[in-house]
Symmetry: C2
Subunit: 181 residues, 2 copies
């Protein structure tokens, strides 16, 4: 971030009046450019005690398995984002049950949220960002080939207690476990 996106003036990086953090500030139009974490929304889709996973067709972690998830867009709700990503990546129409996990990865300024979801039927298909999509029971999950620690930690917590009526699991991923991103 070097120039003002409103007026193209070169930015300063300093603490604004009344603030306590350095921000990018435009000396010409006085705009302060705040930078905030982004939300990745997805689902933990369940069909008859099996979990739907996608093998990634894109970087990062191409070839590794993940839960369907992606960046939440402006104008949509967390639920809409999770349902959209599940349809786009796994071709699956799921029903959201509850918010299962909310995992911050401070090193990359992301918050990953996963909704527990039920699959009415075993219909799914690989979207453009997936090489393949498949159902796995607890013992067949490819634990060593999972893409991200947010996914593996969410799956471990789910198998430890698959109840749909528990408080959301809130935790964060710190180095060295954030290396995968």
């Amino acid at each position: 971030m070097k120039y003002c996106s409103h007026c193209a003036t070169e930015l300063e990086f300093r603490i604004p009046a009344g603030d306590n953090r350095q921000r990018f500030i435009c000396p010409a139009c006085d705009t302060i450019f705040y930078q905030n974490p982004r939300i990745v929304a997805g689902t933990l889709p369940v069909f008859e005690n099996k979990i739907l996973l996608c093998r990634r067709a894109i970087e990062p972690r191409k070839g590794f398995w993940t839960l369907p998830a992606g960046f939440m867009e402006n104008g949509e709700s967390t639920e809409e984002a999770a349902l959209r990503e599940t349809m786009e990546e796994a071709g699956a129409q799921v029903e959201l049950v509850s918010l299962f996990s909310a995992v911050t990865v401070p090193m990359i300024d992301q918050v990953h949220i996963f909704f527990l979801a039920s699959m009415p039927t075993a219909d799914f298909s690989a979207g453009e960002e997936s090489l393949e999509v498949a159902l796995f029971d607890e013992h067949s999950i490819p634990w060593r080939e999972l893409a991200f620690p947010t996914v593996s930690q969410t799956l471990r917590r789910y198998f430890a207690n698959p109840s749909p009526t528990q408080p959301t699991h809130v935790f964060d991923i710190r180095p060295p476990f954030a290396d995968a991103f």
Copy 2:
């Protein structure tokens, strides 16, 4: 958003290859500028069945009451953001219990998350962004003077069921109820 923040070239607004939404794109350095919702993190602090509220000293909704909350910053977790805002706005050191609500306001591209929190003592004080801070029981809550529907809806759901071991309340606020923001 008019100019590239990397190279100051005037931006185009079009759908990038392989995407399905219009984005701001730099024709000189090919940077795509994604815009995503921001997280507002806060707490629902409880001391002996009373809730801690702050009367806002700043716009929007100056003079109205709110739960302590503010924008999550890069580099921190959702929990750290909620604790920091509670200290900054209400001068209260709380203990997080569970994630009580996650409320999207699509009209302004924000997701408000509130942790249920316990106050070990009744110590609190108004921070710079608060005119006053006070404890209210259910019947003394200033319902008509609450700042935001994310706050009033979170409080209503809490009094309907104050259990700390329930799934997070996930919902969204749509017009006309988003007018307050």
